[in-house]
Each structure stands twice: as structure tokens, then as C-alpha cells.
Assembly symmetry: C2
Homo-oligomer: 543 residues x 2
């Protein structure tokens, strides 16, 4: 027996409908530079979204086509987030941090017809043309100034296109499973993998994010979306902010720590989301002679991409009255899998136990199912100790990658293999212990590099730490730590070893401590463990 309910599809244009009507006078604010902001209302935004849809139609974009962007977080990029999916095309946000060859690969692989770019990405785009992106039929430049000299052709001025276009556009009633957006995840080796989000996935993820005990952006908030709009769907935050009718603050072109901090002060930002590194760079900026900047409006900070170190969370809480919280996510899950919330039962726990949960990946978000499995694929218990591969399943998780043979191994019996190893405690808090590819197995037993890293980073003199496995004759693998110290501090490997022995079994203690000026990072700013292992193997890093 079927329900007798309207077959209304879950579409991004429906979210826009509501926000235009209920929150038309709320604003989207973009930082343009020191003391300079662009601000307009959701009503104006909606008008421009429709103009853009008409303009893109003029450029030959049809339902089912792809439109790409090379852009930072600002109102024009936000407009593409609604115009392109709204008209039934698919938005491919090219990751600015990938290598050029990879960017060209993603453009060709997604098959984009139009490339919309920030003017500061012009020479990059010209280079991509040289590398070869033959599918791109038109280039559209987003700039406040006139159209610059360029070899790109044919090239259009974003504002001129919009000025010439009608603000009347009827969003089509699409299939909710049609593709709204494409993001590529960098992939350790080989080409980036294309993740294709449906309208349904993005609407459901936005709703789940905005629920109580989740991110829960409120209309009353002034939310700064720092995590890039070119990566992992900007964590779905632009959609969640629009859905809430919150004031959305975008940090603009090529932002630095000073931009984030000044924007908080200038716009009285109440909440923000960013990579963990950004949260620590913002702290360092404040400590480094900017202690007097007023950030008192800021109440909460979502740091993601990895588990934020407790010390960083405590610093923001104690010094700036900011609650730092986290979640566990990935490009393949739109992107959230888990989100931290303090259950009422935590009030019975001691401080350490609460911190263990606060620094975990959090609880599976609504509609998400999570399990951990052993190597045979058997489900493991949620006892907070046993570690297994994290498998996930939800209406916003991928079932494969865009035209990619790696799809074959992505999903096993309906569950997506995250490639992460972790444990789940009896309350459902999921803790990522390691990535399968970064796993350290010493004498047949697990060692969690993430646990060691987090512990090292609580040491007062340690700024950054990463732990990798190196081959060992007897134990097969042993951990080695790479450590970056704070300026003008010294500490020896023996001291760090002692420090760790207070909390870990002896066989967990790294065999060596390498003191580096900087930890090599991937294009996305994560520790590049693969490279570090290679450097150590080649003798390029010495204790």
C-alpha cells in the first residue's frame, strides 16, 4: 500500500523559495579587504541567482550539463551554488588546492561546459587551457573591475552577463536524484575521485545539520563559512545557513588569519566553521600581537577535517569564551557522518571522560548508520575499545565515484568503506584512530597514530606532531614521530618519550622523534604521511 502524499521532490530550489520569502531581508556579507565588505539580502541574491540561470542558458547550458567554478568563498560563488543546480545543471567546484594537472583532469572528467572563475585565478585558467580542457566552451570572469586582458576565449564578464539577463526564471521540477554538485576528493595516489551529490542528498544533509543537537544553525546567528566552497561541498554550510535564514558571512578571496579575525570583529560573527589548522592559525594570530582584537561576539567554532587537539579547544574556551566542537566527515558523505553533541548523560562523567567524547568524531547524524567491521567484514561491538574499519550508510553517502574503476571497491554490501579505522563507544561516539593506509601494526597489534599525535600536541612546547609507521625487522612496523616545536623552545626526544609513557603502554612509544621545521602537508593541508614515510625511507629525514 502506498502513501497518498504529494510527490514533491527534495530540491535546492525549494530551500531558496522559502528563504527568499521568509528571510528576504537577511544578508549575505562578503569580505572584500581591510574594512571593506559587500552586503546584500537573500532577496537580492535570489534575483541574481535567476539572472545567472538565464545568463547560463544563453551560454548554452542545459539541464544535465556541468558548470565549473574556480573560486573562493564570496557571494558570486554562492550564487552559482543555487543557479546551476536550480536550472538542472551540475556545479563542479574545482578544488583550488589540487595540482594543475589534477584540476585539468577533474574539469575534463566532469565534462564541464562553462568555467566561472575569480579574476585572481586567471593565469591558472590560462595554464589549464594549455594543459588542455577542450570541453570548456565559455569562460566567465567574476571581478569588480573591467574584463582583464586574457588569452581565454570566449570570455564573459559575470556582472555584464547578469545585467543583461532577466531576473525571471522558473526553476524546473527536477528529479530529486539528479546531480546538483560534483566535488573531487584528492586521493592519495592516482587521479582525484569524483563525488556526485544529488539534490536529495544535499537537502537531507542540510536538514540533518540544522537539527537540534547537531550543528543547528539558527536564524539569529551570524555565521562565517571559512571551509572552502571549492572543497567537500563547503561542508554543506552555505545550504544550512540559507535554510536557517542566518546571516551568512563569507571571507572572500584568498583570506588569511587576519581576515578571519577582523571579519569576526567587524561583522560580530557568532559562529564559524573551518579546518582545524585554521583554528590554530587564528589562535596564533591573536597570540602574536593581536590580543586586543575584539572577538567577543564569537560563541562557537566548528573545527573539522580531523580531530581538533584538546589544547586548542581549551585555549578558545578559556581565552575567548568560544566553544569548539567537531564532527567526523568526508567528501563522500556530503560531508558529515558524525557530529558532536553533549548528551545529558555526560553530566555524570568526570572531565577526562567528557573530553574523550568532545574530541571524538561525535555521534552519527540523523539518517546515518555507522558500523565497524573486522578484516572479514564481520561487525564489531560498540565497546569503545575494539577498532575496526568504519563503514557508513545513508541517503547522503556516495555509492561510487564518477566514471571511476575505484567505484568497484567503494561500497561493500550497501556500506561505504571510509578507509578509516576507529572505535565506537557504547553511547555511539565514534573515534577515528587511524586511516587504513596510515595504520601502524606493531607485532600484530594496533598502534593509533592519531592518539599519539593528539597526546604529543598537548605538550606545551609542541606545535605540530605526526606519527608514521616505519618498517621494522622484528615487529614489522614501528611508530616514528615527527615533531615541530614552538618558537624558541627546546625539548628532547627522551623528554617526549617520558611524557608519552605517562599515558601509553611502553610498546606504543615511538622509536624515534624527528624534530622538523615543518611537517610536509598535502595540497589540502593535512599531514602528508605518505611523503613523510618515503622521506624517512630514503634517509631524507634524520633523527
Amino acid at each position: 500500500m502506498q502513501g497518498m502524499i504529494m510527490d514533491e521532490p527534495l530540491l535546492l530550489s525549494t530551500l531558496l523559495w522559502r528563504t527568499e520569502r521568509l528571510y528576504h531581508d537577511k544578508t549575505i556579507v562578503t569580505r572584500l579587504g581591510h574594512d571593506r565588505y559587500h552586503s546584500y539580502t537573500y532577496a537580492e541574491c535570489g534575483q541574481r541567482v535567476r539572472r545567472l540561470a538565464n545568463a547560463l542558458t544563453t551560454l548554452g547550458v542545459e539541464q544535465g550539463d556541468r558548470v565549473a567554478t574556480l573560486a573562493w568563498n564570496h557571494y558570486r560563488h554562492f550564487e552559482t551554488y543555487y543557479a546551476v543546480p536550480g536550472m538542472g545543471a551540475t556545479l563542479h567546484t574545482v578544488n583550488l588546492r589540487l595540482f594543475e594537472e589534477q584540476q585539468a583532469y577533474t574539469l575534463n572528467h566532469a565534462g564541464s561546459k562553462v568555467l566561472i572563475l575569480d579574476v585572481d585565478q586567471l593565469s591558472l585558467a590560462e595554464k589549464l587551457v594549455e594543459i588542455g580542457i577542450p570541453g570548456i566552451e565559455s569562460f566567465v570572469i567574476m571581478t569588480d573591475g573591467p574584463l582583464p586582458e586574457t588569452t581565454l576565449s570566449p570570455v564573459y564578464h559575470y556582472e555584464e552577463l547578469l545585467a543583461a539577463a532577466s531576473p525571471a526564471f522558473e526553476f524546473p521540477e527536477l528529479d530529486e536524484r539528479s546531480a546538483a554538485a560534483i566535488c573531487f576528493t584528492s586521493a592519495t595516489t592516482g587521479n582525484p575521485k569524483g563525488v556526485v551529490y544529488s539534490h536529495r542528498a544535499l537537502v537531507l544533509q542540510s536538514m540533518a545539520l540544522n537539527m537540534q543537537n547537531q550543528l543547528g544553525i539558527r536564524e539569529q546567528e551570524i555565521w562565517m563559512a571559512i571551509s572552502p566552497m571549492f572543497h567537500a561541498n563547503a561542508w554543506c554550510v552555505p545550504h544550512a545557513a540559507l535554510l536557517a535564514g542566518a546571516t551568512l558571512v563569507l571571507p572572500g578571496v584568498h583570506p588569511l588569519e587576519a581576515d578571519y579575525i577582523e571579519t569576526i570583529r567587524d561583522q560580530r560573527v557568532t559562529g564559524m566553521n573551518a579546518a582545524v589548522t585554521v583554528g590554530s592559525m587564528m589562535r596564533d594570530y591573536l597570540l602574536d600581537g593581536h590580543d586586543d582584537v575584539d572577538t567577543s561576539s564569537l560563541q562557537r567554532m566548528w573545527l573539522g577535517g580531523q580531530a581538533p587537539p584538546r589544547g586548542l579547544m581549551e585555549w578558545w574556551g578559556k581565552n575567548r569564551g568560544v566553544t569548539v566542537f567537531t564532527g567526523y566527515g568526508m567528501t563522500e558523505s556530503s560531508p558529515q557522518v558524525c557530529f558532536y553533541s553533549a548528551k545529558s548523560s555526560l553530566s555524570d562523567l568526570d572531565e577526562e571522560s567528557v573530553w574523550r567524547r568532545r574530541t571524538s568524531g561525535g555521534l552519527p547524524i540523523p539518517l546515518m548508520r555507522v558500523k565497524i567491521v573486522d578484516e572479514a567484514g564481520e561487525e564489531l561491538p560498540w565497546d569503545g575499545n575494539v577498532v575496526g574499519t568504519i563503514m557508513i550508510r545513508s541517503p547522503y553517502t556516495v555509492n561510487g565515484y564518477l566514471d571511476d574503476p575505484r567505484s568497484a571497491t567503494a561500497v561493500i554490501d550497501g556500506w561505504f568503506d571510509t578507509g578509516d579505522l576507529g572505535c565506537i563507544d557504547p553511547d555511539g561516539y565514534v573515534t577515528v584512530k587511524d586511516r587504513a593506509k596510515d595504520l601502524i601494526k606493531s607485532g600484530g597489534e594496533w598502534i593509533s597514530s592519531i592518539d599519539l599525535e593528539n597526546a604529543l600536541m598537548t605538550h606545551p612546547h609542541v606545535r605540530e606532531a605526526t606519527v608514521v609507521s616505519v618498517p621494522h625487522e622484528k615487529w614489522l612496523e614501528r611508530p616514528v614521530a615527527c615533531v615541530v616545536l614552538n618558537h624558541s623552545t627546546t625539548v628532547t626526544g627522551a623528554e617526549l618519550s617520558d611524557f608519552l609513557q605517562e599515558r601509553f603502554a611502553k610498546w606504543w612509544i615511538p622509536d624515534a622523534f624527528l624534530f622538523l621545521a615543518d611537517v610536509p602537508k598535502t595540497s589540502m593541508g593535512k599531514f602528508n604521511k605518505k611523503l613523510i614515510r618515503e622521506l624517512i625511507a630514503e634517509g631524507g629525514l634524520q633523527p
Copy 2:
């Protein structure tokens, strides 16, 4: 181009999955009587839900079948809310407040196979068998005691069935559009209309309800669901509470004001939802010699079904520190259409303007689209003044009624005709001004003026009769009849009252009978109820 996302259906069993794992130790508390409560965890609930699914399978219930209940708000009824849809059957919650003939009609029309009833509904069920409900193959009695004497056959004891059943049951992966629940709406004239909710509709509505700036039940809350589980899907609150992992408090069998108030005190209830009348009866109870009862835990109260009077809202705020809020809903929309939330812009408004919004139906909830139209179906502006028919559209709104010719007029061009007249202000606050059909809502329950009129006009001495609602302190609205007698006949109000009592419940009988020379009519020749109500209010019509 299609998204590459898992085809995970939106199912009630997925909500249960998450709550069983994340909130297994949170409780569902049912009031049994003075100082007596039943309490168990969501984990125990989940086990019993599976046992019930197995037990129903034993009774011959298969996917696609219907199972009916005649029950109050308690944990066993809650179990049917998950077992029946979970196994792929459809739960028909028979409305305890319908007339017996209507109840029999709904059972036959829905085609239920099994009837699960509270032991206090036994004689009703026996009567329904007499009237004729031939489709029911088994009766299951929910009681703490032994199986009573009854003519029902075959009859089973709920607890014995569960005890004999296995707690292992794999919920099938259903089509999310399959029917999860059926509720009947009373209908002005003719038979009740069947509303068939899909899993998709209930999951989406629960998510929308639990979002920030909506109802937003939190895990930390202790929520009492007073609105009956046999009416309008209990406002989706049981699902929203489970989804949140909140403590759910159910007031039990045949609750009265004292039960609600004592349960708040005993269970430290923090939030509740009920019909407006219940909110005013609870106030009257407190005023009537129970002022010393501690209700200090209660923070918020959702009163719905009609607009709560400002005086009532103020009373709870001033005297008990309770924030009263409301929403606009109907059986046909799972049931919410709008929900009140205080936009940040309200802080700029004067008190009167804020109250106008607080007593409105609220803002369209996420995924809901609302418009008002004139008689020609043309959309009217959102100017806060012009009144039109309220039309709605969402993935949780009906597209028709179960096997009912009235489906033909329910939906116009994809929009459901609510039958309500209202205006929408520029901020999106929807205010219901009148019901297109002139029903009377007394104590939260409908009284059909047309039914009363039709009955009165069967009286030999009555020429014309119309029944309108007048404001009433306790019941909020009460019916008053305006009667025109045939020439040279006399009859008293008492006689007409006796006449009506032969066919209607006592609370349907009009409070007064006004004998007029003529009933004011509109230009179209219909009774001008608006004018009549105005005349009564001005004292222009006297009993």
C-alpha cells in the same frame, strides 16, 4: 545526470535504529495513575517493537496490510507506532472521539485486519463488531491485568503475544513511499476522510520539526506528548521525540487535567504539546485550588489545533514561567504547515506587533510552500491584510484521500486546498482568519455546525436554523443556534436541546437558541455566519 548517492529509503525503522544505538538508556515514561508510572528505555522499547512485529506476523499480518488501534497515549501504543510501519504494514489509529458508526466506517474503509485496543475500549469494540467490522480477523487487548470476559473473538493478550514472540526481527527495506500510517479527519459532512502517510512524509516531517527555530526537541528535554496518538498522527511528536532521543512522557489512559499537572511535577517535564483547550483547562485546574503544585520544570508548551488566545499565553508566561508557542497544522499535512519562531527582526517591533506574530500560525516549516489565492485561484500578495484561501504544497502533504471521491477537489494544480482562509504578512507569518466551512472547535474538538443545522431543520416546527460559534472562556468556542420557526408555532430552547440530544453527544448541543424572524443571508443566499457572529458579539441578537 544523476547523483551517485546510495538509494537509502527514508524509513521510520532507520530512526529507530539510531535511537536504539545512541539513546538506548533514555526512557519512555507512561502515567498509570496517581503516583504510579511505567518507565522503560528505548532499548527495551526496541526489543518489544520487534517482538510485536513477530507477534503480528503470527497473526497473519503481512506487508501491505493494515493494523488498527483504539488506544490512548502510552508505551504500548508507542510500540505499535514502530512495529506496524516497521514491518511494512500500515497503522490505522482509530479516533476515539468519532461516533461509533464513523469508527466502524474508518475500520472498514482502511481494511484493517487486526484491532489492538486498550482494555477500557472493550465495550466500544464489542459495539463496533455489532455495527459490523467484518475485516478484523483478530483482537489484541492491551492491559496490565488478565484477559477480560468479552464477546470479541479471536482475542489475544498483548503481553502474552509479546512474551511468546522472538525479539529478533529484521526490518525490511521498504519503498519510502509506502504507507506507514492512516488517520481519518472527521469531515464536515459525510464520512471521515482517510489520510495515508508515507514513511517518507513522516521522516521528513519529524526532521523538519526537530530543526532549529522549529519545535526543535532536544535530547536533554523531558517531553510530554498530550495530543492524542489517535488523532492527526499525534502531531508527529512521538517520532520527533524518538529522533531526538528525548525522554518521552505519555499521559496514559483517559487523562484529565490533574494527570497532566501531576505528571509535570512528578517527572520534571520540561516541554509539552496539547490542544489549546487542554492548556486552558490546565490553567483552570491550577487556579482552582492547586496553585501550590510545582510545575517549575516546565519551560515550554506547544498549544495547537487553533490559535491560542493571547491571555492564555500570557498567563502561563507570567504565572508559571512557561513560554507558550503555536503552529498551524492539519491532519492532511502530517500535520504541521507552519510553526512559530521569533525572528531576530522582532526585536525591533513593539509588543503588539510581536503578539500579532506570536498568536499567528507561524512561518511555513522547511520544505513547505504556502500561498493564498482568491476565488479564481490567483495568488494574492503577502501583505498581512488581504485574505485568501490557504493552499499548501510539500513532501508531507496529502495528494488525496483514501478511496474517496473527495480526492478530486482536494488538490488543485499541485496545491492542497486547506479550506482555511488567511493572510500572510511580508515576513511570512501565516494567520488563519476563518475556516471556509464554518465548523466550531469546542474544547479542541470539532462540532459540525452543518450537521446540527441539518438536524434542527428536521424538527417539524423549525423553518431555518444556523449554528455559529461564539467565544467561550473554558471551551474557547461553543455553538449557538439561530432558529426561525414556522408561523404560529412555538417551541422552547429546552425542547430543541432535548431533540438534538437524541442524535448528538452532549457537548455538541448548542449553549443557546436564539429565535429570530429571519436568518441573515449573503447575496448568494447562504447563511451569513460572519454577520451573525458579529451581531451576537455586539449584543444585537439575544436569546
